[in-house]
């Protein structure tokens, strides 16, 4: 009954984003492989969040933003008129920088997406909730208190709850925007191992400005950089993570990784 969607791939070509008259990102092209973890790194303000928001069209809600270029999800353009942003967002889930559970119970938080999808049957919801909590490695801690208010959880638990909430719509892609930046090292470790397991079924794109984290959990790393304030950011380099951190091909990547700027 509960089917897992096949993991998604993104093909991005010549993507540019501007806010009003200010260009934030220009000429970005790369491929995001299915069932892999892709890390986006770069100094703050270089457009990592902006790029991530293009993948589930969260930029649509901002009224001054302009996105140009092509983003193909599993081969089809996500900005095409025929694509409904609602179903896109069910398939491309997102976890944010600060845990943002809804002011509801643990159960209702996870069931939120499925209910939006129109799932009403109790057993089906139960199954989805439990399954998602397990995948997010939170189930064992909360299995006896699913009715508890989400705000009673610790920050790390809240963030795993948000992961479970995003997984409950059975996404093929999970976007994570600095998901550990508000968390302690232990919670960070738990999220990282969750990501490790999730990539078996879901494609993950994670923004981080923690280089160790990128090298620990990602398969591919993309480095973005805005070289001066009045220029838009560009994609400097994208390769598999080991190569990126041992022998980057671009001097700017090496400077960033070795901490010479940013």
């Amino acid at each position: 009954m509960v089917t897992t969607e096949p993991a998604g791939s993104f093909d991005i070509s010549n993507l540019s984003v501007s806010y009003g008259s200010e260009a934030a990102l220009t000429g970005v092209s790369f491929y995001i492989e299915p069932r892999r973890v892709t890390a986006l790194i770069g100094p703050s303000g270089c457009g990592k969040s902006t790029l991530l928001r293009c993948f589930n069209r969260m930029n649509d809600a901002l009224d001054n933003v302009k996105v140009e270029g092509l983003i193909a999800l599993n081969g089809s353009d996500i900005n095409a008129k025929s694509v409904d942003s609602v179903s896109l967002r069910m398939y491309v889930g997102q976890v944010f920088q600060r845990p943002n559970p809804f002011p509801l119970s643990i159960y209702d938080n996870v069931a939120f997406g499925p209910r939006t999808q129109g799932i009403r049957k109790r057993e089906q919801l139960d199954e989805l909730v439990i399954d998602s909590l397990k995948k997010a490695a939170l189930y064992d801690e909360v299995k006896n208190s699913l009715k508890k208010h989400a705000f009673e959880l610790s920050g790390g638990q809240q963030q795993r709850l948000c992961i479970a909430r995003a997984l409950a719509t059975k996404p093929g892609v999970l976007l994570m925007d600095e998901p550990c930046s508000a968390l302690d090292p232990i919670s960070t470790g738990m999220i990282e191992s969750t990501v490790e397991q999730l990539k078996e079924s879901v494609t993950i794109v994670i923004v981080t400005h923690n280089m160790q984290q990128a090298s620990r959990i990602s398969d591919t790393t993309a480095f973005l950089l805005r070289e001066s304030i009045d220029e838009p950011a560009q994609l400097i380099e994208v390769t598999d993570t080991t190569t990126m951190f041992t022998q980057p091909s671009d001097q700017r990547t090496e400077n960033y990784i070795t901490g010479r700027f940013g």
């Binding site: 969260m58 809600a61 967002r89 944010f96 943002n100 809804f102 939120f112 997406g113």
Partner: protein, 300 residues
Amino acid sequence: MNTPAKTRTARTCDAAATLVITVLGWTAIFVLIAIAGFLVHSSLRALDEVGIWSMIAGSDWFPTSSNARFGFLPAQIGSAWVTIVALSTCVPVGVFAAIYLSEFASTRFREVAKAVIEFMATIPSVVFGLIGLSVLVPLIREHLPVDSGLIGLSAGLVVGIVCLPTIISISEDALRSVPRELRQGSFALGNTRWQTAYKVVLPAASSGVFAAVMLGLGRAIGETMVVLMLAGNAGIIPTSPLEAARTMTGTIAQETGEVVRGGLHFSVLFTLGLVLFVITFVINLIADLVLERSRKKWSR
């Protein structure tokens, strides 16, 4: 080491300011207690000669007959009808307006609307009473099966308008204080703006919206001029908002000018004032406590 003169002056100013604020704060509390004490003191004769229960639960209000009866029920039930009508119109309208302003309106529209609403709050209610008298009362007389348009319904509708600014601006504040991240979380799960507003933002702001309703309620019960002008001020217990009604505030305002100072009737009116004081005090207290809790909610 010598303290520089500048720092010393700053410290003196600081101490003086603290003192002034403390004194003012205590003065406010003292005035409140003094008012309560004065009300109780002036009510003593009525409490002694009529008794609290024959007033609060008494159904006849014949204050000037030879066999005088001082039952508050006509006024209390009249106030209840007016308040029910007022809230059942201004709560839905006010909350929807607040949702629109905080979740859908453009920044420019919101600024303009808030300025207008703030202005509306400063208009003396007698002006609304006049407009009600010349526009609403004839309409009601024409379209409803009533002999006169001076009934609880007319007063309630206009009191509702008087309460609207309070409800809109406090609810809007509550809705806007819901963190942006929650809305994004909802959008990211494929919810539309409207779904986000009623499934996430409104529940998250519920305590603030509740407080807004309580403050509106307090305002409605306390409103005097509008009910005096529009409610009809009959002495019997109204069985529906389609009948003429008198309210607690209206009774006090209307009769204090005509009674003998220090007489029993005078003292009874103070007891009515005391009842009103207690009701509005409790309502405002609840609103304050709830509002305080809702402010704390997001500062985690």
